[in-house]
Symmetry: D2
Subunit: 362 residues, 4 copies
C-alpha cells in the first residue's frame, strides 16, 4: 500500500465539518483530528459559534487543533475557499442547501443527511414530507456504502453517506440478494439502537430517566430510513423490494444490533440440505467481505455484540439457518455513529481522495 | 368482591418459597410479604441457610417478618407440614423432585420452573436434554396463564407458571389464533430481555461490564422456551404451530419487550380493508382483555415501553397493521420477574385459593 | 393502631397535586393513588392540561382514577374548594404564590419546593437570588422532617418538605449533634445523586448520552441546598454550622448516597477508646431511630446501597469509626424521589392528618 | 521530537503481557496492538491458553496479530527469551514470582499489580496480609507515575505501575504538597469508580443487576490502596501523611472521579486572600502540568467528567477555593483502565525505552 504520497503535512487535504456540534459531528471531528492525511480547518455550528472545539467537546481538550479551532457560523462561500472536502452533518433538508454552492465551488461534499441518498425525488417527498431542495443533484450523488459502491464513489464528488439503520441491514442482505440466495420478498429487519441515534436534541423523550431502564419500539410501521433501504435492496435484487422494519430504542449510548429474517430461495428440509445451503451462504459472504477491513464475519458460535464494535468502523455479522422454520437469520452489529455515520463518511472520503481506505479508521 | 373472609389473620394461608435466593425468589418474597391473605412461613436456600431474609435481601430489612424469618435447607417433608402453598423457584429438573412429595402431602404447588409446563414428556426431553423426572404429573399440571386457563387453574393443585418470554408472546397471540384472525404459520417473535432473566448466577457473561453498553442475541435459533410457546400456541390454533423466536440481552435490570410479526388470515390491500380488519382485531383484544386487570391495551399512538410496567404485574400491548407489507405487528412489554414470573405465580395462587385475583399485586 | 376511622370511602381526605407532571409530582401521584385514606381529586399542569393521568403517565394506565382524572390548569381558588390537602410540586418562587390563597381558604399545604424551608428571608434571598414571595409565612411553616420535627408537624397546616440532599445529610447528623457526639465544625458531605434529581427538564445536560457512562461533580462549592442543611444543623447544634457539601451526578434514575466526614467531640486513640465511643454512637442512633419505620440502621458489615431503598420511603444508615484518622464516617442511602421528596411529603401529611404515619408508604 | 529511529519494523521492541485475559490485560493488548514501536509477541492466560486473542476478545477480531497470536500458559523462562518488555497484569502476590526470573533474564518489567509499589515490606504485609514475595526488589522498583518520577523511571528496569485510585489522588495532591500550599494533615479523598475496577471476576457482587441502578461505598475505612497513596504523599510532603479515603462503586464501565478536600496552609478570610491563594495554586498546577500531555487542567467553569477521559490516558483536574469553609476542593477524572492502569503502564514503558512518551497513547 503506497501511502508515501500522503505523508507530508503540506499535502494534507483541508476538511471542514458543517454542523459539527451534534453526536455525528463530534465523532467526525474525533476521527478527522486523528486522520494522518487531512487537516481539519473549519467547524461550524450556529449555537456554538465563537467557542473552540475544546470548549464544546472537553474530551478533545488535549489536542492542539481542538484548542485553537473555533466554531463559526455556517457560510458556504467562506468554507468553499477554505476546504477541499466538506462534511455536512446537518438535518435533512438543510444539507442540500449547502451542497449546491460547495459543489459549484469545486469542493468534494460528503453528506451525512438523507438529502442525497435516494435516486427518486418522489420517494423523498413521500418519506420526508417536503419537496427535494435540489433534485438535479440526485443523479450525481453516490450512495456511500464503499463495500457495495466503491468504484462509483471513487469518481464522485457528492457522496450521500448511508444512515445507521440502513448500513446494518444493507451490508448483510445485499450480497445474498445479488447472489439470488434469498427471496426479495418478506424480509423483516428488527433493530435496536442506542440513544445517540436520536441526536443531541433537548427533548424530554431522550432524557436519561426516560431512556434508562427502558426499551421501546418507535416509528412503526413506516420509518423514514425504509426509503433508502428499499431503494438499495431493490437495486441489488433487480426487483422492487418492500421490507418490514422495526426500530427499538435501548439504553446504550451507541450501537445498533439488527436481526434479519430471510427466506432462502431454495427450501431445505434436512441436515444435508441445510449444510449445502450453508456452504453457499458462507461462500457468498466470504466473496463479498473476507477482504473487507470493516466487515467482520464471525465464526463458530460467536454472535454479534455491539460492545465489540463500539468505537470502531467495523460491522460484525453472523448467520444461522433454522431447520425448524426454514428461515435464514442474519445478525449484525455496528456503532451507529461510526460505521453507521461518521466513520463510513470518512471511509468514503478516503476512497474519493485515493487515501488508504482505512486511514484514520484503525 | 367479598374479601371479608380472608381478612382475619388467623385465616391467612401459609406459604413457603423453595429456592428463594434468586431473582424470582426475591420477587416472590417481596410480593408475598405484602400480600393481605397469606403468611410467609418458610424460605429455603442451600447457600443462604441460617441467614434471615433481611440479611440476604437488605431491601426487606424494615419488614418484621423479613427480620425474623431465616432461610432453611430445603426439606420437602418439613415444608409439607408448615405450608398450605409452596412455590418452587428452582432450576429445571430439580423442581419436579420437590413437587411429588409436596403434592402427596396435600400442598398446593406453584412451580416457576419449566418442569410442568409441557404436556409431552418427549418434548421435555428434546428441549431440556434429560428424561422428565415425574412424567405422571404432567397431565395433572395446569399451565398458569390465568387470562387463558383461569377455569382450569381454579381447580388445580399443581400450577406450572409460565416463563417470561412465553408470557410476552402467548398473551398477544393466543386471542388472535383462537379467533382465526392470524395464520398459525410464519410467526416471528423478536424479544429483548433485561439481565435479571439470566438469574443470579456468578457467570462472567452477566457481569456488569459484559452487559452494560452491549446488546446481543443469544440462544438462536432454538431456545428452550420455544417448547412451551409452541405447545400453547398449538392448543390455541388447533394445529401444530412452529415459530421463529430470537431473544436478545439488553442492559436493563428488568423488562421484556417482544415484537411479533404475524400474517392476517385475510389479506388487505387498501385503507378500507385495513380499517375493517383493524376493527376485528380491536374487538378480539377487547373481548379477551378489556376486563383483565393485568393486560393493558394501549390506545392511540402509544407503544409499549418496559419502564411503564416494571415493578407491576401488567403486560402492555399495542398493535399496528402495516399496509405496505400486509403484516400485523403486535408489541408487548412486561416485567420478566413479575408478570413473567413471580407476579403471575401469585396471580395463579390467588385463583386457586379463591382470593381476589389482584390481591397483593396492585 | 386504630385505622378504622379512616377506612370508609366517605371519610377519605381529598388531596390535590399542583405541578404533577414532573418526577416528584409523578411519584406523589403514585403514592396517593395507593393511599388508603385519601382520594386524589385534582392534578394540575400547564403543559399537560386536558390530558388524563393515564395518558401522561402510562404506568398508571391500569388505575381507574388515573384513567378518569385529567390535568387542569393550576387555579388556587378552584382547588381550594376541591381539596382538603394540596401538595405543591412547583419550582422555587412559584410555590409560595399558591400557598397563600390555599392557606387562606383553609387547606393544608405540603410544599415540596424550597419556598418555606428556611426561617430566614435573608438566607432565602442569598441562596435563591430573589426576595421571598411571602415572608410572613416563614414563621408559620414547619420543616417537614417527621423524625426530627414530628410534634410541630402534627399541629401545622403548612409543611415545607425537605430537599433530597438535605434529608440524606440531616437524618444522619442531627442526632449526633444534639447528643454532642460530633463537633459542629468541619463537617463534609459528599453526595451522589441519580438524574431524576434534576427534574424532567428538556436540557441537553440531562440527555441519556450526556449522563450515561459519566460521573461529575456540579454546583460546587455553594449549592442552594446548603441553606436549609445549615439552618437545620445549626438548630440541632445550638450554634452556627457551616458545612462542605459536594453533589455529584451519577447514571442511575433514582437514589442518593451521601458519605459524611465528622469529627468526634472526644478524640479516641486506641481500640478501647473507639469501642467506648462506638457504643455511645450506636446508642445515640438507636435512641433516635430504632423505632422509626423509615430509618434503617444497618448492622454488621452492611453498608448502604441505593438499590436497597429505591422505591421505598426508607433511609439506610451505617457508620464507621476510623482509628487511623480519628474520624467518624456516616453513610446514608435514600430514594431522592421518595424519602427525599414525595414519600416524605406524604409522611408529613399522615402526621398532620393523624393517619398512621406509614399509611400508603409500605 | 525525533521519532525516526523507531519507525522501522525491525527495530520494534518485543513485548509480552502475562495475565492478559482481565480488563487491564485487555486494555494493554488494545494499546500495544496499536503502538507504533512495539510488537506484541506473547500473551498468557491460564484459562484462555490455546485460544487466539481474537477469540477471547472479539473486538480485536479485525487485527491480524490478534487473529494469529494465541494465549499460552505463563512460563517466565520462555517469555524471557521472546520479549524485551514484559507487562505483568496479575493478582497481587503472583506478580512478584514472575518478576524475579524475568529481571534476571534481562527483561524490562512493568508490573500492574501492587507487588512493587511500596518501599516498605512491612507496610505490604500490613495491607496485603502476607509476606512480600521478593522484598529485595522493592528498593529497585520505581513507582511508575511519569509526571512525578519520570527521571527515575527512565533508568529503571522494574516499574511498579500505580493503582487506579492512587493515580486519581496523587496527581492532584503531590504538586500542592511539594509546594507547601496545603497541609499534609486531614486530607480526605472521596472516589467513585466504574465496575471494571473490580476486574473480570465471576462474583455475584459484580453482576449487572447488582451494580446497575446502585451506588455503594465499600472497603471503608481501610482500603489497600491507602498504603501506596500515603507512602507517595509522605514522600512529597516530607512528613508522614495519613489520609481518609472512601471508594464508591457506581454503574459505569470505566472511570474514576475523585473529590479531594484539602486545607490550604495559609488561611484566607476574604476575596482578596482567596484570589491571592488561587493565583499560587494555579501557578503551582501550571508549573507541574501545563506541559504534560496526559494531565488536563480545566479552565473557567469546567469540572471533570469521566466521560471526557474514558478511552484516553488523560487525567482531568479542576479546583475551587471555598470561601465559606476555607477549604480547597480538587476534583479529578480518569479512565481507571487507561491512566489508572494500562495506559500509564505503557507511558512508563515509553519513558524507559526512550520512545516518545505519547507513542501509542493518542
Amino acid at each position: 500500500m503506497a501511502v508515501g504520497e500522503f505523508s507530508f503535512p503540506d499535502m494534507k487535504k483541508r476538511v471542514a465539518v458543517i454542523g459539527a456540534s451534534g453526536y455525528s459531528g463530534e465523532e467526525l471531528v474525533r476521527i478527522l483530528l486523528g486522520h494522518p492525511h487531512v487537516e481539519l480547518v473549519a467547524v461550524t455550528s450556529r449555537q456554538s459559534a465563537g467557542q473552540s472545539l475544546a470548549q464544546v467537546f472537553p474530551r478533545f481538550g488535549s489536542h492542539p487543533v481542538a484548542r485553537a479551532l473555533r466554531f463559526t457560523e455556517p457560510d458556504a462561500a467562506a468554507l468553499a475557499g477554505q476546504a477541499d472536502v466538506v462534511f455536512l452533518a446537518l438535518p435533512h433538508g438543510v444539507a442540500a442547501e449547502f451542497a449546491v454552492p460547495l459543489l459549484d465551488a469545486g469542493c468534494t461534499v460528503v453528506d451525512l443527511s438523507a438529502d442525497f441518498r435516494l435516486r427518486s425525488a418522489d420517494t423523498y417527498r413521500e418519506f420526508y414530507g417536503h419537496e427535494h431542495p435540489a433534485p438535479a443533484l440526485l443523479a450525481r450523488a453516490v450512495y456511500g456504502l464503499p463495500e457495495v459502491h466503491r468504484a462509483r464513489i471513487r469518481g464522485s464528488r457528492l457522496v450521500a453517506s448511508p444512515g445507521c439503520y440502513p448500513t446494518s441491514i444493507l451490508l448483510p442482505v445485499i450480497p445474498l440478494l445479488r447472489a439470488g440466495l434469498v427471496r426479495p420478498t418478506g424480509i423483516i429487519a428488527d433493530s435496536m439502537s442506542g440513544v445517540s441515534g436520536a441526536g443531541r436534541k433537548a427533548e424530554t423523550d431522550y432524557l436519561f430517566c426516560e431512556c434508562n431502564e427502558s426499551v421501546r419500539p418507535y416509528g412503526v410501521p413506516k420509518h423514514r430510513h425504509l426509503s433508502e433501504i428499499e431503494e438499495q435492496l431493490s437495486l441489488a435484487a433487480g426487483a422492487t423490494v418492500t421490507i418490514q422494519f422495526t426500530p427499538h430504542l435501548i439504553p446504550v449510548n451507541r450501537g445498533i444490533l439488527t436481526t434479519l429474517y430471510l427466506a432462502p430461495s431454495e427450501a431445505f428440509s434436512d441436515a444435508a440440505g441445510a449444510a449445502a445451503l450453508g456452504a453457499r451462504i458462507a461462500a457468498c459472504y466470504a466473496a463479498a467481505y473476507a477482504d473487507e477491513p470493516f466487515v467482520r464475519l464471525l465464526e463458530g458460535k460467536a454472535l454479534p455484540d455491539t460492545k465489540n464494535v463500539v468505537g470502531t468502523n467495523v460491522l460484525e455479522l453472523a448467520w444461522r439457518l433454522d431447520a425448524r422454520t426454514g428461515r435464514l437469520l442474519v445478525m449484525s452489529a455496528e456503532d451507529n455513529l461510526v460505521k453507521g455515520a461518521s466513520g463510513q463518511a470518512v471511509q468514503s472520503m478516503n476512497v474519493v481522495l485515493g487515501f488508504p481506505e482505512t486511514a484514520g479508521l484503525l
